[in-house]
């Protein structure tokens, strides 16, 4: 039996960050992980997808290189070496998870590899060990939800229907891919495989994909994807799956689609098995917590995907730090009105804070200002001029409430918005701050000018 100040259950970006922070702050800390350190994010989520997307981007650029004055005599000479692409991705993952293990170790976090069984809130069993702890942080993550569809189970057993985990480990590049669901993860896989030359069909229940994203960006992204050759079946019902064939009804028409693989990507369920003993308040989304990461049980905290607030790695990490700081007496809370979220693709989406609708719902009188990427010099120089920025500000002082960007490097750009909101900044500062030329970030300044007076590089009456 060993005693700890803090035991963290689950070693994803929520749990491992919490454990490192706790150890840095002087708490005696244990981390329990039954699978791979780094969780979904490092092993089957954020990182491997971005490694593959980079390969896909280079492939796409190569096929399009004439535009930039570079010729390949025979385009058929350009070939995807899928095993090599996978190998690189795996190497990146190994390097990062190896790095995290070293960090845990050097910071003095005691790592238990095995399934953690929660006996009570102060007692956790891992294999032969019993851990006693003053505080428990639950960071067990979430798993893909598998819907009830006729024949889907059989397709899963045959290895045809797969989740985001298996699709990252395919031995061969499929020729045709059917994606169930139209969320962020579906979109990223659709763009990835489309760029690699795979025929992609997205099956979406409602009349829109990317339901949570700002509406103009969502609509633009959908039509950009369609222009790339991705087929999106809106208002679609899946009737049944027969091996690699799928019957759907979309807009009152029946269709049969064929795919080499079917990706199931219709949402997550929190990993809460074995936590029943604790008497935690749990709903379909996950373990309920307040903005200090406290559950209804004193001394028990829940962070990351398992609390179901956001399925985002940086939220998991921030919540992990907040939980630890609250445990160790440094009061911290998370402001969920300022969370950034990204879509990685060609182009990218970077979004932070409130949408126009959300701001109005919260009672703000809003100013909206937009500016197109096509009016930006750097974007033209780079040959990537799709997209726009939309700033949502409160009318009274011009406080920035939300920034939504569709652009080639949007994910690199959104940090400016997050920091501005952290500082209760207004469109006046965004306009006044001298943004370097030529950069895509000038669109932030231009849109901010548009919220106050007029942007320079576009004509508005």
């Amino acid at each position: 039996m060993k005693n700890y100040d803090i035991v963290v259950l689950g070693g994803g970006p929520g749990g491992y960050v919490a454990a490192i922070k706790a150890a840095q702050m002087g708490a005696k800390t244990a981390l329990i992980e039954k699978g791979e350190i780094g969780g979904v994010c490092l092993n089957w989520g954020c990182i491997p997808t971005k490694a593959l997307l980079k390969s896909a981007k280079i492939y796409e650029d190569m096929l399009d290189s004439e535009k930039f004055g570079i010729e390949i005599k025979d385009k058929s000479m350009v070939r995807i070496n899928w095993p090599k692409m996978q190998e690189r991705k795996d190497k990146v993952v190994k390097q990062l998870t190896g790095g995290v293990k070293t960090l845990l170790n050097r910071n003095g976090v005691e790592l238990y590899q095995g399934n953690g069984e929660v006996v009570d809130k102060n007692t956790i069993k891992v294999k032969g060990d019993i851990l006693k702890t003053k505080n428990l942080i639950i960071a067990t993550g979430a798993s893909p939800y598998i819907p009830e569809v006729d024949g889907l189970k059989e397709a899963i057993n045959e290895g045809i229907a797969i989740t985001s985990k298996e699709i990252l480990e395919l031995k061969e590049l499929p020729k045709r891919l059917i994606i169930m669901g139209g969320g962020v993860i579906s979109t990223e896989f659709a763009i990835l495989y489309n760029a690699l030359g795979v025929e992609v069909n997205i099956i979406q229940r409602s009349d829109r994909i990317l339901g949570n994203i700002e509406k103009d960006i969502r609509d633009s992204m959908a039509s950009i994807m369609q222009k790339k050759g991705i087929t999106i079946h809106f208002n679609a019902n899946i009737l049944s799956v027969q091996r690699n064939r799928m019957s759907i009804e979309s807009n009152e028409k029946q269709l049969i689609l064929e795919g080499d693989k079917i990706l199931i990507s219709v949402g997550n369920r929190p990993n809460v098995e074995g936590l029943q003993n604790l008497g935690l308040k749990i709903d379909k989304k996950g373990i309920s917590t307040n903005d200090r990461m406290e559950t209804n049980i004193q001394g028990v905290y829940a962070i990351g995907d398992v609390n179901g607030k956001y399925n985002l790695a940086h939220v998991a990490s921030a919540e992990g730090i907040a939980a630890v700081e609250n445990i160790l007496g440094k009061s911290t809370s998370i402001n969920y009105n300022k969370i950034p979220s990204c879509i990685y693709g060609f182009p990218e989406v970077g979004s932070a804070g409130l949408t126009e609708e959300e701001a109005k719902e919260q009672g703000h009188e809003v100013i909206i200002s937009t500016f197109p990427v096509a009016a930006n010099g750097k974007a033209l120089a780079e040959g990537e001029s799709e997209g726009f920025i939309k700033i949502v500000a409160d009318k009274k002082y011009g406080e920035v409430l939300g920034v939504h960007i569709l652009a080639a490097h949007a994910t690199d750009m959104i940090a400016e918005a997050v920091t501005t909101m952290e500082l209760e900044g207004t469109v006046h500062e965004l306009a006044k701050a001298i943004h370097p030329h030529p950069t895509l970030s000038e669109i932030v300044m231009e849109a901010a000018h548009g919220a106050i007076d007029k942007p320079i590089h576009i004509f508005k009456k």
Binding site: Y397, E399, L423, E424, G425, T426, H428, E429
Partner: protein
């Protein structure tokens, strides 16, 4: 020597404008933001306390 510098309050732009509109001196307020930065919530709280205090004194 450094008095001028140390009396300059850290504040957010929104807090500054709000304080000005409400006629509140920003230097009077203890900020709850990082490094004692005055946030808009601090101004609202200060105003509320001010209103309560003046309400009480009337009775």
């Amino acid at each position: 020597k450094a008095t001028e510098d140390s009396t300059r309050a850290l504040a957010t732009p929104v807090a500054r404008r709000l304080a000005k509109d409400l006629g509140i001196g920003i230097n009077k307020i203890d900020g709850t933001g990082p490094a004692g930065r005055v946030m808009k919530e601090d101004i609202y709280r200060f105003k509320e306390e001010l209103d309560n205090a003046s309400g009480n004194s009337k009775v």
